[in-house]
């Protein structure tokens, strides 16, 4: 099946174990996943796996440039749909046939690094003179584990306060700027809301990256302790960061959680009936193409709580620990993180490249929006919280906090329940 390297018995054992998982999943889900082709020919064959179809042309362009500079290397790009990317990668990594270089995200970085699936890059980066200071430090931190660097940042995203100018004008409110605080947001949301017209001041879904992580950090709280061993959800500051949102829900200035489940908040915002929306830099391209709101919306930095903060997340290119060509794969990963590659990415406007100084092209790709807000937030950006098995507690966040948003449960009680569940999950991953 998938395994092909190693001694026969080793291969068989590995194949059987993987086979069983694939087959159970096949039984129940109809999923089957098998990996890469064997390299052949005189050239060194590298495989590079990504999940975003929109970025494939840019990735291909970068790979072509790399091949031109390294004629002995051939890179094949594998596109795997986002929904099955992690399941497939996990199976391939277990079977020893994961691609040489692939995209990694924050929640999975430590899982792969701590299980020895990623090649530590620190020494090679030093030898090749790659300076990690070229990337936002909070972003580099996501891919560092136990003092070693496992990924080279590719792109990043931060969250901003998107607002609808038309509704602000109608309510005779000044537009949000960097002087805004939580109180300003709440007051503006109340003024903007006009239930009879179906107009709401703000969209306050129980989403982590866009919503409550930011306010938790702004309140001085934390999601996971720096040593990665305990949950911060029982901390008063963290709870006040959650309460900011549940108070908005209680005040009736946001549509219900059910409404925001049935229709994705970004789509609601695009209807032009919602005053404010905490949304990512990744939403810019979509908003710029929407005829209803493209001339009416703009973005500002996030309002501050007791301090300024924004959660930053971004992808990195990582190298598979069992790659047959560690040196060439690392070279390719380094090139993917280079200024040249970043400039190719910036032109597409799909993502903000991670390489400092190349983001200008992205900012000017949509001059109608004040996209610089997303860069202005970098000095106080906080890494997206993660642990070795992030998904184990992140699925609980939504499940346990949800009832606090809908008003069925007290937010402090829900947060404490979540802290207990999260601490159990964190203990299990040690």
């Amino acid at each position: 099946m998938c395994s092909k390297s190693g001694t026969p018995s080793e291969g068989r054992r590995r194949g059987a174990r993987l086979g069983s998982w694939v087959a159970i999943s096949g039984l129940l889900l109809g999923v089957a996943a098998c990996g890469t082709d064997d390299p052949s020919g005189g050239k060194i064959e590298l495989t590079y796996r990504i999940w975003d179809k929109n970025q494939q042309p840019a990735m291909q362009q970068i790979a072509d440039r790399f091949q031109a500079a390294h004629p002995n290397i051939h890179v094949t790009i594998q596109l795997t749909a986002n929904q099955e990317y992690w399941t497939k990668l996990q199976g391939d990594a277990t079977g020893g046939s994961a691609p040489d270089v692939f995209w990694m995200n924050g929640p999975h970085a430590q899982l792969y690094a701590s299980n020895g699936m990623l090649l530590p890059l620190s020494d090679q980066l030093k030898a090749d003179g790659v300076d990690l200071g070229n990337y936002p430090s909070a972003l580099t931190a996501i891919y560092s584990y136990q003092g070693k660097q496992y990924g080279i940042p590719k792109d990043f995203d931060t969250v901003g306060l998107w607002y609808n100018k038309k509704l602000f004008d109608a309510a005779k409110l000044t537009y949000p700027d960097d002087t805004w605080t939580w109180e300003t947001v709440a007051a503006a949301a109340r003024k903007l809301t006009d239930a009879s017209k179906g107009v709401y001041g703000i969209l306050a879904p129980p989403f982590n990256q866009e919503n409550f992580y930011n306010t938790v950090f702004q309140a001085g709280g934390y999601v996971i302790s720096p040593d990665g061993k305990s949950s911060g959800y029982d901390q008063p500051a963290t709870i006040s960061g959650l309460k900011f949102w549940t108070d908005l829900m209680k005040a009736g200035v946001s549509p219900s959680v059910k409404s925001m489940t049935d229709t994705y908040p970004a789509q609601l915002f695009e209807s032009g009936k919602f005053g404010m929306y905490y949304a990512g830099s990744w939403n810019a391209i979509e908003f710029s193409k929407n005829d209803t709101i493209k001339n009416d919306v703009d973005v500002a930095v996030l309002p501050q709580g007791t301090k300024r903060a924004v959660v930053i997340h971004g992808l990195a290119n990582v190298v598979y620990a069992k790659t047959k060509h560690p040196q060439e794969a690392t070279q390719f990963a380094e090139f993917l993180g280079s200024k040249e590659a970043a400039e190719i990415q910036a032109k597409t406007g799909a993502v903000i490249p991670a390489f400092n100084g190349t983001q200008e092209a992205w900012v000017s790709s949509m001059p109608q929006f004040h996209l610089r807000s997303f860069l202005d937030e970098l000095p106080y950006a906080v890494p997206f919280p993660a642990s070795k098995n992030t998904d184990a507690w992140m699925t609980k966040e939504a499940a346990i906090l949800g009832p606090a948003w809908s008003g069925d449960k007290d937010v402090a009680a829900a947060a404490k329940e979540l802290a207990t569940a999260m601490n159990t999950a964190l203990r299990e991953e040690q």
Partner: protein
């Protein structure tokens, strides 16, 4: 006599003699013929089942590697409230799906009437959901179920009813998903019943008509009993499929475009056992626990199927 005997004896002797040496090759051929199926089944089903059973007693890492922990996964399973809720959801879903079978019998009987116009169009319409991708089906229904802008609530508002958020209200979502399940399976069951109906000789109906039986009486006294083997088959399949239901629940509960860690408020009330298995094994990377969940599901399916085979003696008539 001697000649006859000498002729007869070898002949009599030859036959068993021929068979005896021939038996082994014959048997070998038989084994050879069933080998692909047997090997396939063993490699892809039996061996993984055995392995899964073994893994359910281990703590398995996301990238292989496991330690024996005895029955800890099963004990954790009993303590986990989401397991109970998922089992309850799944059983409820299966029971509701069974309600689709009488509907399919009735529709099949109606479609089987001779001289019905546009028969193939009806068959196409009912069979279409079966061959449509569940993902596409779920997207369509999410749109119709949308609490604020959906077609169903728009129609209800015409008669002054404020409909619920069908797919995100915990108290109605499972019914809403089950309704889609029935709609999706209807066509498949109808095909089984149509085939069964065509196997019923028309003379029974002619005889019944001569005796003065009406259509309803004919349906219940002739059609249903003679169709009972097909109904039994459909029932067993429906229960097995319902207990394994994953894709529809997954698609209806996930928010397209949403980041990881966002959940539909109705998820706890819709999550099936398969969904829980997926979540535990592949999202939360707890493969051992996932294996235990899968075994509980296997146990349920076995038990339900056994019960059905026991009960069939009471109501299934093989003509």
């Amino acid at each position: 006599m001697a000649a006859v005997n000498s002729l007869a004896r070898p002949r009599r002797a030859r036959r068993p003699a021929n068979r005896r040496p021939g038996r082994r090759p014959e048997r070998m051929w038989a084994y050879l013929m069933v080998a692909p199926m047997t090997i396939g089944l063993s490699v892809f089903y039996l061996w993984p089942i055995a392995q899964t059973f073994y893994f359910s007693f281990t703590r398995s890492g996301p990238f292989g590697g496991h330690t024996w922990i005895g029955t800890a996964n099963y004990r954790a399973l009993v303590d986990e409230p989401s397991v109970f809720q998922s089992v309850a959801n799944t059983l409820f879903y299966a029971v509701v799906q069974l309600a689709g079978i009488p509907l399919a019998v009735l529709l099949a009987a109606l479609l089987n009437q001779r001289g019905l116009r546009g028969r193939s169009i009806y068959r196409l319409v009912y069979f279409l959901p079966v061959v449509t991708m569940p993902v596409a089906v779920a997207m369509l229904w999410r749109w119709m179920y949308n609490g604020d802008y959906g077609l169903i609530n728009q129609l209800l508002s015409v008669v002054g009813i404020q409909g619920p958020h069908w797919a995100s209200d915990p108290s109605v979502a499972l019914y809403a998903v089950a309704a889609i399940g029935i709609w999706m399976a209807l066509g498949y069951n109808m095909v089984i019943f149509l085939a069964g109906l065509q196997g019923i000789p028309t003379m029974y109906y002619e005889a019944a008509a001569m005796d003065g039986a009406g259509p309803a009486r004919m349906f219940f006294r002739i059609t249903v009993p003679l169709l009972s083997p097909s109904i039994f088959f459909a029932t067993v399949l429906t229960v097995i499929n319902s207990l394994q239901m994953f894709d529809l629940a997954y698609m209806m509960m996930s928010t397209p475009g949403a980041a990881a860690g966002t959940a539909n408020p109705a998820l706890p009330r819709v999550r099936t056992v398969s969904y829980l298995f997926y979540q535990k094994a592949f999202v939360e990377h707890d493969l051992g626990f996932g294996a235990a969940v899968a075994f509980v599901l296997l146990g349920f399916i076995l038990a339900m199927t056994l019960i059905q085979f026991r009960l069939q003696r009471r109501w299934v008539h093989y003509a």
